[in-house]
């Protein structure tokens, strides 16, 4: 098995991209096992943060990771990182599940908050992956924009659900998400 590249052990995102390329080119099961170990627990943790049960999150993660295997030939490192590519696969798995009318239980009560972003920054959500760099970036955004983004990404809420929950017109919610999103991209590129 040609697995010499992974001996270099690049950190984090680079390593995942190398592993995914290895799977893509050689169908290396060893690379797949390593990638699974790196990514699957984080995916499961993220889904549980959305309010899915442990079993449900595990099933979605396993389905998505099998898709990663099946689609690996389509991965193009020029277009995206492995993380973004896998994220999109998980998202599409969630969309497919919605289409079959099994919308993920959002567990809204579990993460009820009072209009600030403390629940991300102080660990109200148990997923460690939402804390590190993003925490710093989100703190640089106006609070209303950070709140709208967190309600979208962490809780998976639609515009209408956010508008209802914080009592604002849809247009305002859309504008907060849009400007927060653009603002955050600027901050990411400045890093």
């Amino acid at each position: 098995m040609d697995n010499s590249e992974s001996d270099v052990r690049p950190a984090g995102a680079d390593r995942e991209t190398r592993l995914l390329l290895d799977i893509s080119k050689t169908q290396s099961q060893q690379a797949y096992a390593e990638l699974f170990e790196l990514m699957a627990p984080k995916i499961k943790s993220f889904l549980m943060g959305r309010g899915s049960s442990s079993d449900q999150s595990e099933n979605i993660t396993q389905d998505a990771m099998l898709s990663v295997w099946r689609k690996s030939a389509l991965f193009d490192p020029k277009k995206s990182s492995a993380r973004t590519w896998v994220y999109a696969i998980v998202r599409n798995r969630m969309i497919d599940l919605q289409r079959t009318a099994t919308r993920i239980n959002k567990g809204v009560e579990k993460y009820k908050h009072e209009g600030d972003i403390d629940f991300v920054t102080t660990g109200g959500v148990t997923d460690a992956s939402t804390r590190a760099q993003l925490q710093k970036l989100l703190q640089q955004l106006p609070e209303d924009q950070a709140q709208a983004l967190v309600m979208s990404y962490v809780e998976g809420k639609s515009h209408k659900e956010i508008a209802t929950e914080i009592g604002l017109p849809l247009g305002t919610v859309k504008s907060r998400i849009r400007t927060g999103f653009q603002h955050l991209q600027e901050l990411v590129t400045q890093q």
Binding site: A33, F46, M65, K79, A88, I177, L184
Partner: protein, 212 residues
Amino acid sequence: MNISQHPDQSWFVSYAVGGLTPSFNLLLQAHLLVCPQCRCVLKKADDLGAQFMFGSDDTPIEKFTMPTPQVGARAEQSIEWGKEQVTDLTEFFDHYIGMHLDSLKWMKAGKGLRVCRLTDAEEDKMLMLRAEPGTVLPKHSHNGSELTLVLKGAYFCEDAIFKVGDIEDADDSTLHQPVVTAENECICIAAVDGPLKFSGLLQRMAQPLLGI
């Protein structure tokens, strides 16, 4: 296909997080197929999502069983921003609806306008609209959001023209009255998450019958 009207970028954030209902997902998927600009926005929203999901380099605590991948099993379906541009949306909807547009059950909804309701859920309605050339649609607003995707022909609304592949993004702050161009019939598909608010009494009376 030259796309000039796009939904607000916030829609792609909601799409990227899997936070939308099936009708809205479907409309945006169709637009993404033909719109490189919005595919780029979605890619950026996915980059951000990946940061939320994988952003920390902490060692994951929990491990669980890895399903055994099957050697040789490969799928061809790419993700949205990895796809090549397509030019015909009819096929996309034929595949989803499972029949040709002509064989749908259309209901008359006023002069020159026919409607077909494709889903039953109150909070996630999908409507197909078919209007003759030059039809003036009833003036209306919304209790919620409405995305309209043009499949055939074109219409004017306010100062803008919406052509095949374009999406009109309307919400509770929009009062609009689409007018179909004089040359061709216009077929659109709309996703709405609340009842429409019609200005005219007749349309309000017909609303429960049409289920819109």
